[in-house]
Amino acid sequence: MTAESRNPARGLDLASTPASDLKLPGPGSPVLSCRDVSVYYGKFRAVTDVNLSFGANEITAMIGPSGCGKSTVLRSLNRMNDLVPGARVEGLIGYHGVDLYGKDVDVIEVRRRIGMVFQKPNPFPSSIYNNIAYGPRVTGMHVDDMDDLVEQALTRAALWDEVKNKLHKSAFALSGGQQQRLCIARALATNPEVILMDEPCSALDPIATQKIEDLMLDLAREFTIVIVTHNMQQAARVSQRTAFFTTVADEHGERTGRLVEFDTTEKIFSTPSDERTEAYITGRFG
């Protein structure tokens, strides 16, 4: 098999092809789209031929058993996989029609527009204030009033009232749920368009989880959100669309992740078209 035939999407001019002609499942005018995307770690193909797109101001959930490649897809959406030695993306990932892995794409610029929140809260070893100001400072954003920007970001992340009197205290003094909201506020401070969330509640208790979920629903008015979650109820509660991934054996008998079904969350959780999806969401598998 030649690289060309395995990778038909490469060379396609995304900018001049209307999204509807790409025949991708999902919303009409996507912010991000994946066409025949496969991601490799060295020789291991973690996920194969993913086609899906993420709509503006929507929350899209990616669910599936461990090792199905959902986090891998998420991390290739803002090129975090570049940090993993040996990681390689085939196929086309488009951001408003621009090839994210194109030649003159600056990865720093990509991550400024497509922010990320991680599984484990990872505040920087510094004050709450500095955590928020970090992004604008390192990206050289023009900021008139940093205090104001910090307040806004914390307010949007529903954390302001809890921390306004200790902005210059260490971020480590916050609880796990507060730390995660701080990380969300930190991501908001650079004013991205998309926020990627990699199992953002898996290290949190139910009350903190509920706060983050409320926050996500709030933020979806301004941002496009993609969330990877192991918690199916969470996907059902917050997302408009859901992508279900699972692990299958490829033509060489190697395990690889595949997108099984991508549809509105309502459809996925009520009348999924694939029996594997049904088995997973009803808990009979995975």
């Binding site: 991680f118 990872n122 920087f124 992004g135 390192v138």
Partner: protein
């Protein structure tokens, strides 16, 4: 709850007594205690052996003369003077010059190895660095005298490097010697920073340099401070290099006087304790007094470093 009834019909309780006295366990514990106690004992013995002749020394020379005197002419003659300041300053000069070399070079190497180098290169460079740390200091002294000294005489023609010895050259040699130590300890501290922190910064669009300086550096600060203090202790205590390359003239000069020869505390002890001094003489007692002062200096430095490390930990953890 069920009650067990034995064959005779008595109600019996389960036995929770040890089935054997476990002497082995007690023996091991006693042995480990003796080992731990031995190191404490030896340290105490060293301190006492330093202190006894020192106390003796101060019956002949006043503490004020020793600590604040500016002339170092120990020995027999009529012109004796026991002002320790010149050799303390010599030690501090060498240490300062060494740190000016070792800390920047060591920390930058650590940054490179931890944040920039690819894993394959790191796997080669790190062990080489650790081998470098094991080069005998005598060899470094010879390197300073026969290579560095003429090298700097050519490189800096405007500096007066006519004499054989120079505090600048000796300090730089000591600095080069402790670069691997700084790099290795600092790199360990940086590697210990959780990868999640780096990812968080990269996800905000930070460049590698920003991640290194603004996230990895503050998160690893306590280890980096430890590396610097360790380097300073090595530099203060270094004997062989300064004995060979720094000369033997006790002088009260600044560290910027590159080409001047100085005598350090360790070099004084090293060149005096050669075996042909008679025990009980004032010279004999002098080397112990200088040794005790050296001990106090490193002790104070270690205490400061422990406090520093603790303070940074409080801020960041």
């Amino acid at each position: 709850m069920t009650t067990r009834v034995n064959e005779a019909g008595d109600v019996s309780r389960p036995s929770l007594k040890a089935s054997s006295p476990r002497y082995g366990e007690k023996l091991i514990k006693a042995f480990l205690f003796v080992c731990a106690g031995l190191s404490v004992l030896v340290t105490t013995a060293i301190v006492i052996s330093l202190l006894v002749p020192t106390v003796d020394f101060f019956t002949e020379v006043s503490i004020t003369e020793f600590l604040f005197g500016t002339e170092w002419r120990p020995g027999r003659g009529t012109q004796t003077s026991y002002g320790v300041l010149p050799i303390v300053v010599g030690t501090l000069n060498i240490t300062l010059i060494a740190l000016v070399v070792a800390i920047p070079v060591g920390l930058l190497s650590a940054f490179y190895l931890s944040e920039y180098a690819n894993p394959r290169l790191r796997k080669i460079v790190k062990p080489v660095l650790e081998v470098l740390a094991g080069i005998p200091t005598v060899a470094i002294g010879l390197f300073a005298l026969y290579f560095l000294k003429p090298f700097f005489a050519d490189l800096l023609p405007w500096v007066d490097l006519d004499g054989l010895f120079s505090q600048g050259v000796a300090g730089i040699a000591v600095g080069l010697m402790i670069v691997p130590l700084v790099a290795s300890v600092a790199e360990d501290a940086m590697r210990a920073v959780p990868p999640g922190l780096r990812e968080g910064a990269y996800a905000l669009g930070a460049t590698k340099l920003r991640v290194s300086l603004k996230v990895v550096f503050p998160a690893a600060i306590s280890g980096i401070v430890a590396a610097c203090v360790l380097a300073a202790s090595r530099a203060i205590g270094e004997t062989m290099v300064v004995l060979i390359a720094a000369g033997a003239s006790p002088k009260l000069i600044g560290p910027w006087e590159f080409g001047e020869s100085v005598l350090t505390m360790t070099a004084y002890i090293g060149r005096t304790a050669t075996g042909d001094i008679a025990t009980g003489t004032i010279t004999y007692k002098t080397i112990f007094a200088v040794g005790a002062l050296l001990f106090v200096m490193t002790l104070i430095m270690n205490l400061i470093s422990i406090r520093l490390v603790r303070r940074f930990r409080e801020v960041y953890e």
